[in-house]
């Protein structure tokens, strides 16, 4: 995945301009920057959700997208959410195994509106396990997770990169993972 000369404007302020970005196989790139620096904006441009005000993004293959709002519908249970996207993507992943890995066996059939923030985040992260995709775009993925969950996600991300996948993640310094490269906005 490559971004050429990307630029973004918020109101009358230029967030970034002339930004070049390359992501190669096996790389874990951490986006750093103060609040409001444009980490989420850059991620959304890489994902194709926002049109860059300048420059272009070249993508090879599909990506997974996890952002601060998890993409769960209030009426969905974790099992229904994962089943829904598994069917949409034509994935044959075992939902029960995924729920076990996420430690969501117990609240698997509770509507998301009743789940804790950490449980919602785990449900969203479950989408990563439904289908193998080379690129993961993660916006603050460690937020709301407990210590055990953070360690689990750290291992998951490291394993993904070890298998040749690539990750761009907006991260705080406290995140329990060592990025290959840092990219400061």
């Amino acid at each position: 995945m490559q971004g050429h000369g990307l630029g973004a404007v918020r109101g009358e302020r230029i967030l970034f301009s002339g930004l070049n970005f390359t992501l190669g196989a096996g790389e874990l790139v951490a986006l750093r920057g103060v609040n409001g620096a444009g980490k989420t904006t850059l991620l959304r441009q890489l994902a194709g959700l926002s049109q860059p005000q300048a420059g272009r993004v070249d993508r090879a293959g599909r990506h997974h997208w996890i952002s601060h709002n998890n993409g769960l519908k209030a009426h969905e249970t974790p099992r229904r959410h994962l089943m829904h996207w598994a069917r949409v993507w034509g994935s044959s992943a075992g939902i029960d195994e995924v729920l076990t890995m996420l430690r969501l066996k117990r609240p698997a059939d509770v509507p998301c509106s009743l789940l804790s923030a950490g449980q919602k985040r785990r449900t969203a992260l479950g989408r990563l396990l439904l289908e193998v995709r080379p690129v993961w775009l993660l916006d603050e993925p460690f937020n709301a997770l407990d210590a055990e969950g953070q360690a689990w996600l750290g291992t998951l991300m490291t394993d993904h990169c070890a298998r040749g996948g690539a990750i761009v993640a907006a991260l705080h310094a406290a995140a329990p993972i060592t990025p290959v490269r840092e990219f400061t906005l």
């Binding site: 994902a47 194709g48 959700l49 926002s50 049109q51 990506h63 997208w65 952002s67 601060h68 709002n69 998890n70 993409g71 769960l72 519908k73 209030a74 009426h75 969905e76 229904r80 829904h84 996207w85 069917r87 949409v88 034509g90 509507p111």
Partner: protein, 219 residues
Amino acid sequence: MRAAPIRRSFVQAVMEAWSGGAGLLLPVGFFSGTAMLVPFALGSAPDVLSDIGPGMLWLALALASLVTLERVFQADLHDGALDLWVQEPAAISLVALTKTLAHWSVSGLPLVLLTPLYGLMFQVPPETTLPAMAAFGLGGLTFFLWGGVAAALSASVARGGLLIALLALPLYLPTLIFGGLTVKTGFEDSAFLFLLASTLFALGVAPPAMGAALRLAAD
């Protein structure tokens, strides 16, 4: 293109509509409320009721579509589901059309099925029941399509209900005029063809408009 994403978006939208309380109860409530209040407000003279009854039902249908659609796409935008759908290879306009159809089948279709009952209450002549059902079916579908466009356009506006009404109501007018005529004159008149044309026009124009509006909302 695979059919699974479209099928799943329909199922998800129907489940959401049911759990959100916009299921059968809302249109039935609107229709029953109108059917009950109108005779009290206007007196129960049979000729008056059969004259204005169908018009009152059109009003209920239009309002029911507006109330149902207010949060359809706004919820998707806020919970992040819109981001996921926009990144799908399936066209977002098709997904939006499917969602609108799902909401119509939950909130609009029951009205069509209830028409004979309310027709009875308003003393509508029995021979116009079938044209009325066809008109409410096509008209409701058109209302939901235009309402969907307005809802998509105002998805990123807090409390967009008023904006939805403002955007959608002018688009309802042709359907309302020809639909009202169809109830009176039946299938023989050209009014029915014009109603059909307004529905087909909405089916062609609304999906791309919804798609473009949703892409803009996600940006």
